[in-house]
Amino acid sequence: MGPLVTQPLDPVNPPAQPSRFAYQARRHLPERIIQWILFLAAFSAVTVTIAIVVILVYESLGFFRHVSLWDFLTDTQWTPLFSDKHFGILPLVAGTLVTTFVALAVSVPLGTVIAIYLSEFASHSVREIVKPFLELLSGVPTIVYGYFALLFVTPLLQLFLPDLPGFNMLSAGLVMGIMIIPYVASVSEDAMRAVPMHIREGSYAMGATRFQTAIRVVTPAATSGLVAAYILGISRAVGETMVVAVAAGTQPNLTWNPLEGAATISAYIVQVSLGDLPHGSLEYQTIFAAGLVLLLMTLAFNVVGHLLRKRFREAY
């Protein structure tokens, strides 16, 4: 630093010596502003959640001023668009549960088997080919699956079940099941691959075969992750809209028989939205009440899933 001190200074106009403090402030103020902007962007996730809850609860409160909660939960008919109005959510809940159950009956076994196969049996090259294909399967828009269910799967099923109506929950559920296989398979596979190698090696060292290791060692160790995968599948199936709106019909129908047609909660919301309902009317508010029930159902499944995962979690 010696030469700097001996430098001749202009006595009239001394060069401005920016203090270290001012320099720091100039450098750090934009940093602060940027950090705040980024924080606000991240906080938008919380804002959206709050907005969803506020909007649904607010509009549903308007609905429950006209319809008692007891009627809503116990009436077996849902006919808000007819002159003889009934507001029982049960038929829509039943439709949602039946299609979800059919979808799970397809996607849970197939998804789990695919996950076990990919994680424990398949060679590296098979995995590299199959996984992108499964990703493509999950990329197909749901309206296209709806077309497929209505105009391909239903006629196909009618060959075996001649009495099957054109709109039925079976075909919608089956197609929905195929649609959510990739989600179930991919999360399950991640869970199984997260099981440490030495546990498998221990099993092989005892003379177990691949199948025994996969079923008796790896699968139990990955149960917590498998539950997460199934819950994800349930969430998808419960909230799925276009497949059921197209293929399962829009007639509320309190039945547990998948061979019949019935509206689900989401199909009802779509049906009402297609009409031209005045803002603020009771019919307009019904879709928010139905949406709230849908959200609570997804939430309930997720809470149950969280508890199950805690119950089965293995620590290594």
Partner: protein, 313 residues
């Protein structure tokens, strides 16, 4: 136990039979696994072939340049694909910066405290909220509270919220893949935090972020339910006002507030008609949608695989 012992011989046979039986199970399960995968892949193929067979007769120039019509033969998807493009434009402009910024905050800036936990829990939960619920949010918030009406802007913002979790998760993964040494090197030469992020972390994670953005947009293109919920019309025989005008200031934002329809809604509307001719139109629209989304997904997959091979830290 001597070799002459007959019981040892039978026991050896028993063990060998046991091993063979268990090995057979290995084989059987491999077959079951392959069959299960084939069910998925065959369905994908059947779906695609079914659509193409039903709709290829309609896929010509006129189909893309005609408005929907009461006569199935002359109906086209002009207003639908223009609507889809404009809605996607709004979605990308709103959703991508927001999602990337949120991801940068969570990965690079967020302190470990309850606020960060709260944000993370909300991002995870939003990914699980059914898409139709986003539609209800948009109907209550954008259409009526903010008075945006049943417009392209409202639809674009709805889909932007919908793909937010996808973009955030993909961007975080991409940012996390950049090794800490890169950041330390930047700090060591005196870079500030933002300089480190903007000049080093973001450029290195661009491919990963792009993958996530493309997959999110592909999902948004196919989304039907939330857009129906905000009240998009199913029969639109005109185009939104052009964004470029002949009079100064030459740019108009009127199109943001125009009524619109999008491809999946057009398909749904034709699908709910009983006449077979309209079903053909629906199939052709389906082919257009599926080709768009599959192409986007394929691009994303290719980017990811090439990126993974090329980068060696």
């Amino acid at each position: 136990m001597s070799a002459a012992d007959p019981t040892a011989d039978t026991r050896l046979h028993g063990i060998r039979a046991l091993i063979a039986r268990h090995k057979r199970w290995d084989y059987i399960f491999s077959v079951i696994g392959l069959v299960a995968m084939m069910i998925g892949i065959v369905t994908l193929l059947a779906l695609f072939i079914d659509l193409v067979l039903d709709g290829y007769g309609k896929l010509n120039y006129d189909f893309f340049t005609s408005f929907p019509s009461r006569r199935a033969a002359g109906a086209g998807i002009l207003s639908a694909w223009v609507g889809t493009v404009l809605v996607m434009l709004v979605t990308a402009l709103a959703g991508v910066p927001l999602g990337v910024a949120a991801a940068i905050y969570l990965e690079e800036y967020a302190p470990r405290n309850w606020m960060t936990d709260l944000i993370e829990i909300n991002v995870t939960n939003l990914a699980g909220v059914p898409s139709i619920v986003y539609g209800l949010l948009a109907l209550g918030l954008f259409v009526y509270q903010l008075d945006l009406g049943q417009s392209i802007l409202a639809a674009g913002l709805t889909l932007a919220l919908l793909i937010l979790p996808v973009v955030i998760v993909a961007t975080r993964e991409a940012i996390r893949a950049v090794p800490g040494a890169i950041r330390e090197a930047a700090y060591a030469v005196g870079a500030t935090k933002w300089q480190t992020v903007a000049h080093h972390v973001l450029p290195y994670s661009t491919a990963g972020i792009l993958t996530g953005v493309i997959i999110g947009m592909a999902r948004a293109i196919g989304e039907t339910a939330p857009i129906i919920t905000i009240g998009a019309l199913t029969f639109i025989a005109f185009l939104p006002p052009s964004p470029v005008t002949t009079e100064p200031p030459f740019i108009s934002f009127d199109w943001l507030f125009a009524p619109f329809t999008v491809l999946p809604i057009q398909m749904f509307s034709w699908l709910s008609r009983p006449q077979a001719a309209f079903l053909e139109n629906a199939a052709a629209t389906g082919v257009v949608i599926i080709v768009m989304t599959l192409a986007m997904n394929a691009v994303a997959i290719v980017i990811r695989y090439r990126f993974r091979k090329r980068i060696k830290w």
